[in-house]
């Protein structure tokens, strides 16, 4: 292999030979994920642009298309979806619809867009279905290798950076992966628990100050919330509860200041190279509708039931308005103990239930209106204006 590379000898292209297009002298930094393990099944052509850059004897295929722009694809890749992920005081919720569409046709009404990577990390995928499936597998493999080599799990941010680095060689091609990594960072050891408690003390002190500067329209609700969480802080400190989530602070600026070595995380990675951290992330053609619902209902101090209901509602509304989202909703809840999957729910049922509720509301409104008009007819002395003003 080494002599082959030095001489610049290229074997004829066949699907099982390792990727020999990248020069070996570039070493570790330039290795594509497909060279990480030469025995793995993922051997394939890099995008055409890379072939033309090298001064090598072109093989049959590279000469044909290194000078041409990428071909007009005869079929569309599958796109269009609604996925979302958000963090709150008791973990992370990841939700997505299940429709896989291909231009106008629904290829698969029951696809699975949320894949677990390991016990505490789940990835919401959107973009091209084939790309997402493959990159999710590659990411799982690399994270498992990291875990075996370093004897601890890679954090969510670390996984995001890893995925971003692996996707970078394909920037400019039409690989389309937009993944949201949702997970819980940190080990559940006594040590980290202690440090969390210490951080919680300092945070609480800062919270007292931020209480004063709370936004006016939220202040009433906010102070009630904070009061309840402060109480819980007291309780958890006293009883040394195993679950450190309750002692986490609940204001955004405090969290970013202290970093927080363990806790819920949501991170977005895109094949363009964009990496975003946040509290609420929604991706896909239905994401504007999902954001509208989430922004309205999200609070850090939500209970699990509230959070699940919010996620479900967001996906339901998005599927209603967006043509490329629909069918069912999948929901995962990740806590310090791992992920838990909620049963897949068919949104058709929810749609009919909503219709029933609307019908009932209309009937009630109609009844009230009639009652009011009846009252006015009795009271009014034939004055036409009083009936209209009622």
């Amino acid at each position: 292999m080494a002599l082959q590379d030095v001489c610049g000898f290229l074997e004829t292209l066949d699907d099982i030979s390792p990727c020999t297009y990248l020069p070996n002298e570039m070493g570790y930094m330039r290795r594509t994920p497909f060279e990480f393990d030469r025995d793995s099944a993922f051997h394939f052509l890099p995008p055409p642009q890379q072939c033309s850059r090298k001064n090598r004897a072109p093989t049959l295929f590279s000469s044909t298309f290194s000078s041409l722009s990428p071909h007009q694809q005869p079929f569309q890749l599958s796109h269009g979806t609604t996925t979302l992920g958000f963090i709150f005081q008791d973990g992370v919720i990841a939700a997505a619809d299940t429709r896989a569409s291909c231009k106008g046709l629904i290829c698969c009404p029951i696809s699975q867009k949320i894949m677990p990577i390991h016990s505490h990390l789940v990835v919401n995928t959107s973009g091209s279905g084939a790309d997402c499936m493959l990159w999710e597998r590659i990411l799982t493999r690399e994270m498992r290798l990291y875990q075996l080599r370093h004897r601890k799990r890679l954090s969510v941010n670390g996984a995001a950076k890893l995925l971003s680095m692996m996707l970078h060689p394909f920037k400019g091609t039409n690989v389309c992966v937009a993944a949201t990594l949702c997970g819980w960072d940190g080990e559940e050891t006594q040590e980290t628990l202690q440090s969390c408690m210490e951080i919680a003390d300092v945070k609480k002190a800062v919270e007292q100050d931020s209480n004063v500067s709370a936004i006016s329209d939220e202040s009433a609700q906010g102070s009630v919330k904070m009061a309840s969480i402060n109480e819980q802080d007291e309780i958890s400190k006293d009883t040394q509860a195993l679950n450190p989530t309750v002692s986490d602070q609940n204001t955004k600026n405090v969290q970013s200041t202290f970093g927080g070595r363990s806790g819920p995380r949501v991170c977005y990675v895109c094949s363009d190279g964009l990496q975003l951290k946040g509290e609420i992330i929604s991706v896909g053609s239905g994401s504007p509708y999902a954001y509208a619902v989430l922004d309205d209902g999200w609070r850090w101090g939500m209970t699990v039931d509230e959070a699940v209901a919010l996620a479900r509602e967001a996906v339901f509304r998005a599927t209603h308005w967006d043509a490329y989202s629909g069918n069912n909703v999948d929901l995962f809840h990740i806590t310090a103990h791992g992920w838990r999957r909620r049963d897949r729910e068919d949104l058709k049922e929810e749609y009919y239930r909503e219709r029933e509720r609307e019908k009932k509301k209309i009937k009630e409104r109609e009844k009230e209106r009639q009652k009011r008009e009846g009252d006015e007819l009795v009271e009014g002395e034939g004055d036409i204006y009083s009936v209209h003003c009622g």
Partner: protein
């Protein structure tokens, strides 16, 4: 390559009807050769069916070009789309099957073939195979997958909703969900292809059904509309 008809003027020069401006011609490596494939599986059987028409543009190249390829005694693949890529892809799959057999001393299972096909197809992510593939087969114990079905190819958009309704009992209320038997499945496939031939120009001529049971693979040929 399609031969377009042209009108020749008095002095033998080609006369164009309308001047449309400068036209850029580009070589397209793909062509669409039509054809529909369908796979249905029941508790203990699987069947893969395809029409046998090979067309391009307004012409028919062949009326006897089936799109089901037998891979092993328990697996059949249906490939439609661009015929050149179908042939190459099936050659590559057959070669990989032989390699597997020689190094592992056993045949590949249906699930393994599907997983391998997924990686073969992704290997050409930036210059794809223009093929719609459906793999039908039984697993190592001779079990199929209950009430599963998929249509691919030119008439797939017409057939898939019909199969959803008849095999998946979808979009209906208060129906008794009887499990699918082999006889009913074969009859259904025949009816479905007859309907497809009525409405899709690229589907027709004949229907070939490969029926996979634990006894092996059996073929049945049914004539369809030839127009």
């Amino acid at each position: 390559m399609m031969i377009s008809s042209r009108v020749f003027g008095d002095n033998g020069k080609v006369k164009e009807y309308h001047y449309t401006g400068p036209v850029e011609h580009k070589f397209s490596p793909y062509a669409f050769n039509g054809g529909t494939v369908l796979a249905v599986a029941g508790e203990d059987f699987a069947l893969v069916a395809s029409d046998t028409r090979l067309s391009e543009g307004y012409s028919i190249h062949s009326r006897d070009s089936p799109k089901c390829y037998k891979l092993t005694d328990t697996t059949v693949i249906g490939c439609s789309g661009f015929h050149g890529d179908c042939l190459t892809l099936t050659k590559i799959i057959e070669a990989r099957l032989k390699m597997y057999k020689h190094s592992n001393n056993k045949n590949m299972t249906s699930g393994a073939i599907a997983a391998m096909l997924s990686t073969i197809l992704y290997g050409k992510r930036f210059f794809p195979y223009y093929v719609y593939n459906i793999i039908g087969g039984l697993d190592e114990e001779g079990r199929g997958a209950r009430d599963t079905y998929k249509a691919g190819g030119s008439a797939s958009a017409m057939l898939q909703p019909l199969l959803d309704n008849q095999i998946g009992f979808k979009n209906m209320e208060n129906v008794e969900q009887v499990p699918l038997t082999l006889e009913k499945a074969v009859q259904l496939v025949k009816d479905v292809f007859i309907s497809a031939a009525e409405r899709d120009v690229y589907t027709g001529d004949a229907l070939k059904i490969c029926i996979i049971t634990k006894e092996g693979v059996r073929e049945e040929i049914v004539p369809l509309r030839k127009d």
